[in-house]
Amino acid sequence: MAALTLKINNKAYTIEADPKMPLLWAIRDLAGLTGTKYGCGIAQCGACTVHLEGTPIRSCSVPVSAAANKNITTIEGLSSDNSHPVQQAWISEQVPQCGYCQSGQIMAATALLKKTPNPNDKDIDAAMQGHICRCGTYPRIRKAIKTASMLMAQKGQVK
């Protein structure tokens, strides 16, 4: 066990944890932020995706010690009032069905749009094919990413 500091969504959390504990469980059970989901535990489904220093990572497969003192962004950090353009696009295209995988999908899409503000279908395929949606919302995810890109261009903002 070790005392660690996690910087999640610009807030510091001091936690006591086995350094080998995957970051996912530290975020969910120790910091209490349950928007990030467990799906497979082996980096195959993308449900646990968060940003580590702005880069999307699979939190189920990163030990908590590797994330200590670094900037972590989870779904809760995008906005709690759904004002982020990706959240707005997800609502306007009515993407979620069960919604369980969508935190990971949204985090991946946000990272994609930051790097590639106007992605084409191939960019979307490359960025999103690590993410499973069992409800099959893929066609709407594709549309929503394009809508978000448009919203961001309109607002001239890239978060």
């Binding site: 066990m1 086995d18 504990m21 995957p22 469980w25 969910r28 059970d29 120790l30 209490g32 932020l33 349950t34 928007g35 990030t36 989901k37 467990y38 799906g39 497979c40 535990g41 082996i42 195959q44 489904c45 989870t74 779904i75 809760e76 995008l78 906005s79 709690s80 009032d81 759904n82 959240q87 997800w90 609502i91 009515q94 993407v95 979620p96 069905q97 069960c98 919604g99 369980y100 995988c101 969508q102 935190s103 949204i106 979307i124 395929d125 999103m128 094919q129 690590g130 993410h131 499973i132 949606c133 069992r134 409800c135 099959g136 919302t137 893929y138 066609p139 709407r140 995810i141 594709r142």
Partner: protein, 722 residues
């Protein structure tokens, strides 16, 4: 989100407290459902309601806030939107001002809550419309009395009653106290669908805002003070007894509190496991890794996929238990001008909801409370009441949001297991299944072999027979009657075929196996549809007819002709080009008819690719066209996975595919364009969540045949290898 509501002996104070309402309220519900009688609408505060279990769906408080109880699970299919959208129409309220709560398990109060069989809307819409219209009429009546005017001069709109001549208005909140003293009207006139303002509109889902910011609470997100976490090592084969446990290393893991044997109720067969309980989930998982359990599973068959399917193939050729027959199939087949026979095989499948199974239980000496992703709260309530020997009212089963269900979460095994652990450790506990547990323990969709035979005379089907070999989901309880027929053998087949096939015979040969099996989205139709619609396509080809025209000649009812016409029109069926393969399939289940056309072609690499899918859904009376479209899109993606990507195999009694690295899911780059159309008619409401799934696979394989001449009869197949 407020978990349950009004149960037990309803009291106004209790209801108000639980639902967050203020002061007086108008609350309307139904009398408990009784067989053969129409449910009666009750105002519990106007009558002597002591002891009545109110089936409460609507409550309006003095601020005008409307609370609606959703008695069904929300697993992605949209009940959380559909139920309020129905109510808002006749109640004349703004859907965005509604507070929605999930009803806890209570069969006496709500009737069946099993969220399966695509039944939420079709099972309750007529009552919900009546209930909402009754509440509206009572509010108007209350205003009429206050103003002392004629009722014909008043109407309701947007949460207000308006007196037309004077323009005077009362908000519903100002009327609830007076309205709550009135008797509900005996008869109400429902709107003509042409007048709908809320229904039939593609309104955004009420649950989506909380599903894009991490706030929606799924079962796995639920927490209680002092809650422990457990993972369970279950017999790796489907049946097995614990021979020995070595937990020396487990107990060294910091946080691990208990190691205990626990049973899981699988259709009344107790299956054993060893639970590791810790104060955090990671510690429980580590403790389980360090655990050594020896199993005695020598008494049970260790099936392999090869053995299973060779048995099923033999069974499909032998004696069957007959379900539905007409005329004399054998004689008609013998006399047919052309005869055909074909075998179709579909695999075992895992549900693999994105939210792995989990359940939170708190059992004390005199009560039990459950929270979780649950499709059948009332089943769990009665199962636990019986096993824990507690009265029904002492067992509360709360639904959270479900991260997928697809039939798996209608099963009572995982809440049972959680309850037993909680009872033993005398503390609240959350049991979490790892992905590997979720994928290997079952229940699965059963694997099937179909033997289809048919005769053609004058280009039409004169005789049709199907023998289905596979596990019968209804025969898993100890002592089940294994000689009973399976009435699901015809699920998926269009009803008019029974009239147009002059001689027919349908039956099954049930396989006995310890592999647990359960409903998987669209249930038997998900596999039957592949056999029937492939075979009908083969018959069309044998008859030298266009596949859509051939179907049209056998489906003369107007409703089906309209659907075929629509399918032909939207897909451009008649103008299809030479180097394109087009396939069609139409199936019917849960009172909805869906036709799909798939277009395929060869890519530059010579491999077959899916270019587009057109779907036409006829579900009769409907609520929200956008949810229907989303459900059909999702059904097509799920079918694509089961057709071309994944299957569960068995070796030596063990499931082979354990996680998404071997049980491969369709990914965003593999999804074709999907265009969905909804038929407009006034037929009764049919299901929406499942019926879009069965036609996709046969439409795809029929399209591949059209393009390449290759007939695919065994699933799954690799699209790259066609």
């Amino acid at each position: 989100m407020i978990m349950d509501t009004i149960s037990k002996n309803i009291s106004r104070r209790n209801f108000i407290k639980l639902s967050g309402l203020t002061g007086a309220a108008l609350t309307l519900g139904f009398s408990p459902p009784t067989n053969g009688k129409e449910a009666e609408i009750i105002n519990p505060f106007a009558t002597d309601s002591s002891g009545i279990e109110l089936n409460a769906w609507i409550s309006i408080d003095t601020t005008g806030k409307v609370t609606i109880t959703n008695h069904r699970a929300e697993m992605g299919q949209g009940s959380y939107q559909a139920v309020p959208q129905i109510i808002a129409e006749e109640l004349e309220i703004d859907l965005n001002q509604v507070n929605i709560i999930f009803g806890a398990g209570n069969n006496k109060k709500y009737g069946s809550q099993i969220t399966g069989g695509s039944s939420t809307v079709r099972g309750s819409y007529k009552n919900l419309l009546r209930l909402s219209a009754s509440a509206r009429e009572m509010l108007i009546e209350a205003a009429v009395k206050k103003w002392n005017v004629s009722k014909s001069e008043c109407y309701a709109e947007n949460g207000k009653v308006i007196h037309k001549p004077s323009g005077k208005k009362y908000g519903y909140g100002e009327l609830v106290e007076a309205a709550s003293k009135l008797e509900p009207p005996k008869n109400v006139v429902l709107k003509n669908p042409k007048e709908y303002k809320v229904l039939r509109k593609p309104l955004p889902r009420q649950d989506n805002p909380q599903k894009v910011n991490g706030k929606a609470i799924f079962g796995i997100d639920f927490k209680l003070p002092g809650m422990m976490y457990a993972v369970v090592e279950r017999s790796p084969r489907f049946e097995g007894k614990v021979k020995s446990i070595n937990d020396a290393e487990t107990k060294k893991i910091p946080g691990v509190k208990y190691v205990l044997k626990v049973n899981r109720d699988v259709f009344n067969n107790m299956r054993e496991g060893v639970a590791v309980v810790a104060d955090n989930l990671w510690a429980a998982m580590q403790g389980r890794k360090a655990l050594k359990v020896e199993w005695d599973d020598s008494a049970f068959p260790h099936h392999s996929t090869e053995q299973l399917y060779s048995t099923l193939r033999e069974m499909s050729k032998g004696e069957i238990i007959s379900y539905r027959t007409k005329g004399n199939f054998s004689a008609a087949f013998e006399n047919a001008e052309k005869k055909m026979e074909a075998f179709y095989e579909t695999p075992y499948e895992s549900h693999s909801c994105m939210e792995p199974l989990n359940c939170t239980a708190h059992v004390t000496d005199d009560q039990c409370e459950i929270w979780g992703p649950i499709q059948a709260p009332d089943w769990i309530q009665s199962n636990l009441s019986a096993h824990l020997k507690l009265p029904m009212e002492k067992v509360t089963v709360n639904m959270t949001f479900l991260g997928g269900g697809f039939g798996r979460k209608a099963f009572t095994d995982y809440p049972y297991e959680a309850a037993m652990i909680s009872k033993e450790i005398k503390a609240p506990v959350q049991v979490v299944w790892t992905r590997e547990d979720d994928m290997t323990v079952g229940p699965f969709r059963p694997g099937m072999v179909y033997r289809c035979k048919a005769g053609l005379n004058n280009g039409k089907i004169s005789a049709f027979e199907t023998k289905m070999a596979g596990q019968n989901m209804g025969q898993q309880e100890p002592g089940a009657d294994k000689k009973g027929y399976n009435d699901s053998v015809t699920e998926g087949l269009l009803e008019p075929y029974f009239n147009s096939f002059p001689h027919h015979s349908f039956g099954d040969a049930p396989l006995d196996s310890p592999i647990p099996v359960m409903w998987w989205r669209s249930v038997y139709a998900s596999t039957n549809g592949f056999a029937y619609e492939s075979f009908i396509d083969e018959l069309a080809n044998e008859a030298g007819k266009d596949p859509l025209e051939f179907r049209k000649q056998h489906l003369w009812e107007e409703r089906y002709q309209h659907l075929i016409d629509k399918l032909e029109e939207v897909s451009g069926w008649k103008s299809r080009k030479k180097n394109e393969g087009f396939g069609v399939a139409i199936t019917e289940c849960f009172s909805s008819i869906v036709g799909e056309v798939v277009k395929v072609s060869k890519g530059i690499n010579g491999k077959v690719k899916i270019d587009k899918v057109w779907a036409v859904m006829d579900c009769g009376w409907y609520v929200n066209p956008d949810i229907i479209k989303a459900q059909v899109e999702g059904s097509i993606v799920m079918a694509l996975g089961a057709a071309t990507k994944h299957a569960t195999h068995f070796t030596d009694g063990l499931a082979v595919e354990k996680n998404f690295n071997t049980y491969l899911m369709p990914r965003i780059n593999e999804i074709p364009e999907i265009e969905v159309h909804v038929m407009e008619n006034e037929e009764k409401a049919g299901g929406v969540g499942e019926p879009g799934l069965p036609p996709f696979t046969p439409a795809l394989t029929n399209a591949i045949f059209d393009l390449t001449g290759k007939r695919i009869r065994v699933l799954p197949f690799n699209l790259d290898e066609v």
